[in-house]
Assembly symmetry: C2
Homo-oligomer: 120 residues x 2
Amino acid sequence: MTESNSRLAPRLRLKAGDTIALGPGKAQLLELIQHHRSISAAARALKMSYRRAWLLVDTMNTCFKSPLVFTATGGSQGGGAELSEEGQKVLKLYRQYEKAVAERPELTELAAMLSDESTL
Amino acid sequence: MTESNSRLAPRLRLKAGDTIALGPGKAQLLELIQHHRSISAAARALKMSYRRAWLLVDTMNTCFKSPLVFTATGGSQGGGAELSEEGQKVLKLYRQYEKAVAERPELTELAAMLSDESTL
């Protein structure tokens, strides 16, 4: 994330109907799954239960036309997971979107109106 | 809010440190206070307790250099409230920001990747 407006950090949630299809937490989970190639390792890195991480993945996989995360059973490492091509694209678009949103001039104007205490 | 990408609705929260200085709920509260010239009427319109509305206003007033909402005691209508010049400016900037964010091309691309069910 850019720090150009670090006094005000925009957090972007994308709602599809009543469901949050994507937001800061889900994007971070995707990133960690990509890095660790494992849902359970990603969950541990986020201090989140495996069940919760799995449910977040399931929500994303359901929201999008194609699954964003694939899992494999078996293997000496107990399976593993990876982002599909769509998962990689969604993550990249979300990060680009966050960056563009963080660089908007309205944010700079709003940040300049903050009191000094509100950065604590 | 624009409906140009209605299948994915971005929700924008602005965090100053650990505090949400502004988000969809607070912006709507400001708008209703401007309309009703009363915190309690705005709270009723949002089916929110007066206490909760007052706390949200207090958070905003503390986050920004100048208070966004002024209240008056007494009077035949039991006081009343109005947005300060800064409050009006913050609300306008936030709405402009929301509009710009809703019109980003990344959102169109992400929305096109959603499954048909996820608009329900």
